[in-house]
Symmetry: C2
Subunit: 562 residues, 2 copies
Amino acid sequence: MSDVRVTIATGTTWQEVAADRQRHRDATIGALQPPLPELALKELPLNVTGLCQDTLSEQELAITGANVEDLAPKLASGEWSAASVTSAFLRRAGLAQKLVNCVTELLPKAALKRAAELDEYLAAHGKPVGPLHGIPISVKEHLAMKGLDLNAGFVSWVGRVAEDDALILKILWEAGAVFYVRSTQPQTLMHLETSSNLYGVTVNPSNTTLTAGGSSGGEGALVGLRGSILGIGTDIGGSIRSPAANNGVFGFKPTAGRLPVNGWSATMAGSEGILGTIGPLSTSLAGLELFTKSVVAGKPWLTSPDLVAMDWKENYSPFEGRKLKIAVMWEDGVVMPHPPITRALEGVVEKLKTSSVVDVVEWKPWRHDLAWEIIAGLYFCDGGADETAAINASGEPWRPLSKFILDENPHMKHYDIASLWAACAQRNEYREKYAALWNATGDGGDMVDVILCPVGPGVAPKLDTSRYWGYTSQWNLLDYPAVVFPANDRVSVEKDGGSLEYQPRGEKDVYNWNLWKEHGAEGYKDAPISLQLVARRYEDEKLLKALEIVLKQSGLPATVSQ
Amino acid sequence: MSDVRVTIATGTTWQEVAADRQRHRDATIGALQPPLPELALKELPLNVTGLCQDTLSEQELAITGANVEDLAPKLASGEWSAASVTSAFLRRAGLAQKLVNCVTELLPKAALKRAAELDEYLAAHGKPVGPLHGIPISVKEHLAMKGLDLNAGFVSWVGRVAEDDALILKILWEAGAVFYVRSTQPQTLMHLETSSNLYGVTVNPSNTTLTAGGSSGGEGALVGLRGSILGIGTDIGGSIRSPAANNGVFGFKPTAGRLPVNGWSATMAGSEGILGTIGPLSTSLAGLELFTKSVVAGKPWLTSPDLVAMDWKENYSPFEGRKLKIAVMWEDGVVMPHPPITRALEGVVEKLKTSSVVDVVEWKPWRHDLAWEIIAGLYFCDGGADETAAINASGEPWRPLSKFILDENPHMKHYDIASLWAACAQRNEYREKYAALWNATGDGGDMVDVILCPVGPGVAPKLDTSRYWGYTSQWNLLDYPAVVFPANDRVSVEKDGGSLEYQPRGEKDVYNWNLWKEHGAEGYKDAPISLQLVARRYEDEKLLKALEIVLKQSGLPATVSQ
C-alpha cells in the first residue's frame, strides 16, 4: 500500500476530489432514460419509503416489487426481458440516491448492454445462461469492477482503478447477473454507518434522521427502497448485518472462507487475525440462498486457495425427524437492547414456544466484553497506522466514527510478533471456550442448533451514534455464520412509548440507554425491527434452513413486501 | 511460554536432565515381561531390519507382521486379544529402541490396562468399542498425554507435564485405540532428522549410518521396524513425509484444518503464517485411511473451532467414468534428486503410461526457490527468538540442524506487523499463482488430479545432512495434502552404482549432488526408495483414492511386508 495517490489530479484538494466523484455519480443518474423527476427535497417526509410508488411506472413497480425467486423464473422464461428489468432497477436505484444518498455511480451503459446480450442469448438458445440470468445485483463500491474507481472510502485512494473484476463478480456474471449500480461505503470501511467525505452520509429510508447502517449502508438503503433486491456487502464486524437490520431486509454473513473476497479494496492487506466476509443483502431469504449457492457452485476455491473447498449442501434436511433447537440470547450481558428489540424478540419467542417442531432454550452469553477487547485489538494490529495514513494522505477530515474506532479504541495497539501471537492465542482460546459452551448444550442431535438474538443494541441509530458493535462483531470473532431477518414490525409510539425503569450496568450500557432515553420511540419512529440468527462455524446451510423454520413457525414472511 | 523451567530439578545440568529422561525410558523398557534380550551392539549389521525376526516369538511376529486392516477384524472378532496384540507391539517397540534409538518411553502399564478393558468390553458386549478397537498406535512425544512430559525436544522444557490428552488422542481413544509408546523428536522439532540432546540420534533401520528422517523420525523408524504399524506424526515442512520416505512406509500429511493439532507442544503459539498438520504413518495405505477417517468421524471441529467442519467422504469415486490425470514432476527446478529417486520414478511412470485408466502428463514446477524463501521466513516470524530462548535456557548445545534452520537461515527475519502482512500477502499471491497453474491444466474433469514427485532430493540422508526441505515444504506452503508411499525398492550398488554426469545449477544443487558423489550407492545401500503424491487443498480423500490407483497400475503393493 505504498503508492497512495493523494487525488485524481495531483494538486487538487480533497473537496475537489469529492466534488468530482459526486459530479460523476450525478452524471450517471442524469443519463437515465426517461429522466427521473427532480425531487423537491424540502418537502420530503422523514419516511421516504412510499415515494417510489409516486414516481415509477406501473411496470417498473411490478418489476422492482418482485423478489429474486419471482424474478428469476420470469427472466428465464423471457416473460420479462433482462432489459426491462435492468432499466426498472436502474431508475429505482437512481431515485433511491435522490432520497437517501446511497449510490456512488449507476452503470446504465454497461448494464443495459449486458441485459441486451442476455436477452439475445435467451432468444437464440431458448434457455438462460445460468441461475441468475438477468438478475440485477447491486455492488458495494468496496469491490473491484474493472476500469472503475476503487477507493475504500478514502479520498486519497480515489484514482486507483481496478484492473480486473473481483472474483465473486466474475462468478456471478457467469451465472447470469447484471451489475448496474455501485453503492456507498464509509471512510475506513470500519463504521456501522455510512459516512464519507467523498459522498456524504447515507440515511435511512424509513426515517431519514437515522443511519442506514454500515459499512454496507449503501446496499442496506438501496435494498430497503427496493432500488435493489439483491446486493453484495462485506462484513468484518457487522457491516452486512447492521444495514440489513436497519433497513428491515435480509442479510447474510457466511462463514469466512466460503465466499471469495479477492478483489476488494482495503488497507492492511495480508492481515489475518480477523477474517472479513462477503455476502448478500436481499428482500427475501430465497435471495440470500440463491446468491450464496450460485457463488459456491462456481468453485471459487480453485482460484482463491484461501477458501474452503466445500460444496453447497443442496436438498439438505438437518431437522428431519427431530426438532430445531433454538437458544435465545435476550441480551449480551454488556449492553441491554432498546425496548423495541426486546419486544420483537419476545413476540417471536412466544410463537416459537407454541411450535411442535421447535425447542426453545436460553443462551447465556459468555464474556462478550472480552470478545470485543480481543477483536477490537486484532482489527488494527498496526495500531491503525495504515488506516490513519490513508485518511491523512488527502487532508480529508476524520469522520466521527473513524475517530471512535481508531482514535478512541482503548483495545488497539501496535503489536509486535510476540504480542500478536499472544493475541491470536487468546482469540483461539476464546473460540474454544465458546465451542465448549455450545457442546455443553446437548449431545449430538440434542445440541443447540442456532442462537436467536438481537442484531444490535437498538434499531437504526441516530447518525454518528453507532458505537456498539458487540451484537454483530461477536460472531465475526467466532466466525459463525449469521443471518438477519426483519421482524416485520417497526418502532411506534403506541407500542414502544411507555416509560421504562432500567439501571445500566456500565459505560457502554449507559451510552446506549441514554440514546433511548433521549430520543424515545418518537425519535426512532418507523425504524424497522430486525433480529439475528446464528449457527456454528460452517453451518451456513443449516442456518438458512433454520431461519426458514423460524419464520414459518413465528408467522413471519420470508420476503419483504413492497 | 513464559514459564520455561530449566530442568526437572532446578539446579541440575542439562546432561543430568537428559540422563534422567533416558533412565526413565530404559526403565519402561526394562519393565517388559518377558524381558527383552540384551543386544550385542558391536555385532549389529548396518541393516538391522531383520533382527526382530531373531528375537520375537512366532506369535509376536505374526501379530506385528499384520497390518491395520488385518489386525482390526481379528481384534473386533476376538481372534486376537487386545492384550496379546499390545504386548507384542510393546516388545517389538522396545526392541526397536535398542536397534535404532527411536523411543522416549514405553507405556506398558497404561497400555496393558487399556487392552484388558477392551478385551472385557468385547467379551461383555460382543462388539468392539469402535473402528480402532485394540489397534496399538504409537505417538510422537510432541503430543500431550496427560501426566507425561511435554518437552518439544528442548531440555529446558523437560518437567512440563501435560494436563490433558491431545484432542486427537481423545478421539482415537473413543475409537478404541491403545497408546503404548512415545517416540523421539529432534531439538526444536524443525529438523528433517531426529537428533536431540535428550535422547541422542535416531538412526535408520535399513542402514544405521543414515537418518530415520524427522521430525517424526521416532515414528518413522518405529514403523519401519514394525514396532508400530500405525503412528502419529506432525508435519510443517516434511516431518511426517521425510521419516515415512526414509523408512519405506506410508505417511500422510492432510490438508491443515482437517485433523486437530490441539495439545501439541511447540514454541510460537499463536503463529499462523504457516499451519502445521498432524497425520499418520503406517505400514499400509489402508492404515492411513482408517486413521484419518476415524479422527474426522469424531467431529473434532466441534471442540477445536479452527478446523474445517468437513466430513470424510466415504464411498467416494472421483475417477468413475474418467481417467485419473497424473502430472509427473521429475525435479523441482532447484535441486536434482539423486539417481535412485529418478530411477524409481521412471519405473512407476513407465508402468502408469501403459495403463488404460490413467493419463500421464508433465508438471512444470514454478519458482520452488521462491516458495522456500517465503516459507523459511514465515516459519520463524520472531526471527527465531522463541526457539533460541528455549534451546539456550538449559545451556544444552545446538544440534547441527538447529543451527542450519535458525542460525544459517538467510530468509529468517524478525518481522514487524507491516512486513508480516507483506509476507502473508506474498504467500497468498504464490498460492494463487500455483492454483492458476493447476487450473490451466484442463477444464473440469480434464484437470490434473494429482502430482507425482520425489519426497526429497535423495533417499535417507547421512546424519546431519538433511538440509533441503523443498520437496516437502513446497506442499506445506501451498497446504496441499501429500502422501508418501514406498516404491518397493532399495538403493543397490548394482542398480545405482553407475557413474553419472551432472552439472549442478546452484549452491543447494551442488550440496545435494556432492552428497551422492561422496557416498555413492554404497553409502546409501539398502535405503528404501519412496515417492510422493500430492493433490489440491482439501482433496484428501481424492488423494488417497488416487494413490490406490497409482499403486495398482504400477504394480506396487499397498502394504509394507514384514
